[in-house]
């Protein structure tokens, strides 16, 4: 799998970098501290050496100085040089390591000097009576070397420790990330049908939210799959009944003894075919609504104009049944929607209202527009739907009791689905005179976006 960097690598690099940084910081601090301590120590040593020389020079008049000991001194001592200048002018005695020129211009006390390209730390002092100037110097690089050695001693273990630490960390991280890998294996090993929850008990605290969210997601997917499955089953069953009716009516026609009886049965065969066709059409509409994202085709529409158009198409058939259609739409009602879907919604609502209206009644459609958005209401004077059943009506394949109308129980589910796609709310209430059914669809205000 490609993607973000490995968690393990990030942890490993992060921890190792932090350890190395801390370690280097400690080494640096030690270096700085040790330099300061060393300077003081070596300065004291220089001053002491000078004092010893002066004591020796002052104690006897003999000009000879014992110099044999010098090479046998500690290795550091080789880096120490001294000069004795008679009256400060003539170089009387000097160590082998000392140059022939004066170490420092300063005659007394500590000073830094560069002689022939070599940096020195020098301490100068006069013997009693200013007979001789003693200068004791120490090469600077000697001090540097000591400091470097101290730092090296500090840093060397880091070089050894870091790889060891890295190895140990890698193992520990792998162990700690094991639950994640187990989870991935568990989920990876599933097929699309296995949606039972992942066990959350054993999961570490950090992984548990992930597992819980996953389980919630699984539950949601399972639920929607179950709905789909139930819908497919329902749809197949719903198709069986019209097919059974067609077959039975055809058999009745075949067995009919009279011409009128045969004609009647054949007429009902055709009606059954029409109903099966209508059912499959509605199933297709629903399937399309379920499958696609209609919002991509949304645009500005005028609900009032669409209502005028759709009701114009339906009015003749309604008139034939003795049902009047009235539209009340005074102003344009802009909505952000897909026009084709709005037509389906309106046709379904108005068609339902006409179907369930007894002859001599009216179906009233009202379109209003306000700041809050557009509102469509379709009311009839039919039998209505008792409040407890209103929620079920929106489910698929519900048919009102005792109706002889060849509806297939999908109209309102289609309306509900289209309303949901448009962010509109749908509610069922009593008709105007407390009788019949009023369906109200409220669309959100059309934004300019």
């Amino acid at each position: 799998m490609t993607g973000g960097p490995s968690l393990r690598l990030r942890l490993l690099v992060g921890v190792l970098a932090a350890v190395a940084l801390a370690w280097v910081a400690v080494a640096w601090a030690s270096y700085v501290q040790s330099r300061r301590d060393l300077d003081e120590l070596f300065d004291a040593h220089l001053a002491q050496s000078a004092a010893l020389l002066i004591a020796q020079l002052s104690g006897e008049d003999d000009d000879e100085l014992e110099l044999e000991h010098v090479p046998r001194l500690h290795p550091y001592a080789r880096n120490v040089a001294f000069q004795v200048w008679e009256r400060g002018k003539r170089l009387r005695i000097h160590s082998r390591s000392a140059p022939n020129v004066r170490l420092s211009r300063e005659e007394e006390g500590f000073s830094d000097a560069t002689v022939e390209g070599v940096d020195w730390r020098v301490f100068g002092a006069w013997t009693k009576g200013r007979r001789a100037l003693v200068q004791v110097g120490e090469r600077r690089d000697a001090r540097e070397e000591v400091s470097r050695e101290i730092v090296a001693h500090l840093l060397l273990p880091l070089g050894v420790a870091l790889p060891l630490l890295g190895g140990a960390l890698a193992l520990a991280i792998a162990q700690a990330l094991r639950p994640l890998r187990d989870l991935a294996d568990d989920i990876g090993g599933r097929d699309a049908r296995r949606l039972e929850p992942v066990a959350a008990e054993g999961a570490p605290r950090e992984v548990r939210p992930l597992v819980e969210r996953l389980n919630t997601l699984f539950a949601r997917i399972a639920e929607s799959l179950e709905r789909e499955r139930a819908f497919t089953a329902d749809a197949a069953h719903e198709l069986r009944t019209p097919l059974a009716a067609i077959r039975a009516q055809a058999q009745v026609a075949r067995e009919a003894t009279g011409d009128a009886e045969r004609r009647r049965a054949l007429g009902l065969v055709i009606a059954g075919c029409d109903r099966a066709a209508r059912l499959s059409e509605q199933l297709l509409t629903l399937a399309r609504l379920d499958a696609e994202d209609a919002s991509r085709r949304f645009g500005p529409c005028d609900l009032a104009e669409i209502a005028r158009d759709v009701l114009g198409e339906l009015a003749p058939a309604a008139y034939g049944r003795g049902v009047a259609i009235e539209l009340e739409a005074t102003a344009a009602a802009p909505v952000h929607a897909e026009e084709g879907l709005l037509r389906v919604l309106l046709r379904n609502l108005a068609d339902n209202a006409v179907r369930y209206s007894p002859a001599g009644c009216a179906v009233r459609v009202r379109v209003e527009s306000s700041e809050a958005g557009a509102m469509l209401s379709v009311s009839d004077e039919g039998p209505g739907i008792p409040p407890p059943e209103r929620a079920r009506v929106l489910g698929r394949f519900y048919r009102a009791l005792g109706t002889s109308e060849p509806g297939v129980g999908l109209g309102l589910s289609i309306v509900a689905r289209i309303a949901a796609l448009h962010g509109a709310t749908l509610d069922l209430g009593d008709g105007p005179a407390g009788r019949g059914l009023a369906v109200r669809v409220r669309f959100p205000a059309a934004t300019n976006g």
Partner: protein, 221 residues
Amino acid sequence: MRVLVVEDDPLLGDALRVGLGQAGFAVDWVQDGRTAWIALRTNPFAAVVLDLGLPALSGLDVLRRLRAERNAVPVLILTARDAIPDRIAGLDAGADDYLVKPVDLGELAARLRALVRRSAGQASPVLSLGALSLDPAAHAVRFRGRPVELSAREFALLHELARSAGRVLSREQLEQRLYPRGEELGSNAIEVHVHHLRRKLAPEVVVTVRGVGYMLPKEPP
């Protein structure tokens, strides 16, 4: 034979009513469970064709109530639900048969005849009473070795009397068992058909019990 068809689909219900009528049944058709329940409590049906997905009261509820009241009327479930658990639930709730839509009307009629026959404890599909034999499937009657031509109504009356041979049935009982609710009957329809039966078979085949009703003897002469 009067059967009750409980089917909420108008087209299929109509087809069952007419189709089973063609097959010689007297059919009452109702479209919801509650009406079915009321009809079953007040009328003597020979069998019931029951859909499961019904408004008001589901088919299974009707069936359970029926069996809880010790009503043994044969029930054939006719439904779109074909899953094995549905079939098991239907039969276990007290159904005698289970058919899945769509169904052949001839098969449905045959199964109904079989159910009625079995509910009467009768093994042979042909009813034999002495010199009289009656084949409900073929609508054929033989008397003293000769075939007899009967109208559908006459056959239905003879069949009803034969099913209860040896027992007296009143005119009201016969009307209830023979004619669907709402059918226009003359007040003397039964008498007229009895008269025809006597003429076509023999006068002594149908016995009149004055003031009570009619009876077909178990061994007609």
